[in-house]
């Protein structure tokens, strides 16, 4: 059984969860985004999960962005190979 599948503001909790990324990426039509906001404002569980999910994406973007360093000699070896190419 799904633990949270109420219909609030014309949307089920599952429908809200399914659209979370689209909402956070500003990729939904205005009317759909407004419907999600109406649902979340009346559904504490979706509000809590939505906030945690949004924070997760923010933290991924902020904390994992720095890539592993490229080994020091890779660039010089590549440029040496480029020199012998016409």
């Amino acid at each position: 059984m799904r633990p949270c599948d109420r219909n609030v503001a014309g949307l089920t909790c599952l429908a809200v969860m399914a659209d979370l990324s689209l909402y956070l990426d500003h990729d939904l039509p205005d009317a759909r985004a407004a419907q999600i906001e109406a649902h979340v404002s009346a559904c504490q569980q979706c509000a809590s999960f939505g906030a945690a999910f949004a924070e997760l994406i923010t933290q991924v973007q902020e904390r994992l962005r720095e890539p592993d360093p490229v080994p020091a000699d890779v660039e010089s070896r590549l440029k040496a190979r480029l020199l012998v190419r016409t």
Binding site: R2, P3, C4, D5, C13, L14, M17, A18, L20, S21, L22, D25, D27, Q45, S48, F49, A51, A52, F53, E55, L56, I57, Q59, V60, Q61, R63, L64, R65, P67, D68, P69, V70, P71, V74, E75, R77, L78, K79, R81, L82, L83, R85
Partner: protein, 198 residues
């Protein structure tokens, strides 16, 4: 995400490199090698393989500069070449293909992430721990890590991400959401396991 000025610098360097200016191409290498290496590392098994892919990708870019049309950013173009080089290498060496994200029911993933449960704050608490985040990210399959890397770390546009992966935009969006939900589930589980450890 590179700003407009950075993109203009890339385009200028690319034009100069296409005219034979090796220094300009060297500057492109310096500017983008970290992004190229990250994707190469993601798509290969060892750092050595990733270095090979990086070299192959930039050498391929050097000989294919005349094919750059400016329809996507220079970085997206380089990442596309990198991905093709990695996929080509995997094909040559008969390594196993990257498994597609398992078709899991989104609701099940949501439940694992804490959606609708009695303690939705578990996900938020686990997210605060960088170790949990990094471990969960490393625990994703390669397909999920790839789309999150391109969209959330490299911050490519949705259109560029879809084009690079050879997906329609709706398919890219669906895969991205599944990847994020899977990550949320793994982060929460990392947090739960850490709490249970002595």
């Amino acid at each position: 995400m590179p700003g407009e000025d950075e993109s203009l610098i890339d385009i200028d360097l690319t034009r100069r490199a296409a005219g034979g200016d090796r220094e300009a191409f060297g500057a492109l290498v310096t500017r983008h090698q970290a992004s190229v290496f990250r994707l190469a590392r993601l798509l290969t098994r060892t750092p050595g393989d990733a270095e090979d892919i990086l070299q192959e990708a930039f050498l391929s870019a050097w000989t294919g500069l005349h094919r750059f049309r400016g329809e996507a950013s220079v970085r997206t173009w380089l990442l596309t070449i990198t991905r093709n080089a990695a996929l080509s290498q995997r094909s040559r060496t008969a390594r196993e293909p990257i498994d597609p994200t398992p078709i899991e029911d989104l609701a099940d993933l949501g439940v694992r992430a804490g959606w609708g449960g009695p303690t939705p704050e578990d996900l938020a608490i686990a997210t605060e721990q960088r170790d949990h985040l990094a471990a969960a990210f490393a625990g994703l399959n390669a397909v999920d890590r790839e789309i999150l890397t391109l969209r959330d770390l490299e911050e490519l546009s949705g259109e560029d991400t879809a084009a690079l992966l050879g997906l329609s935009r709706p398919a890219m969006k669906s895969r991205l959401h599944r990847a994020r939900m899977t990550l949320a589930a793994l982060v929460r589980e990392e947090g739960t396991h850490a709490t249970l450890r002595p």
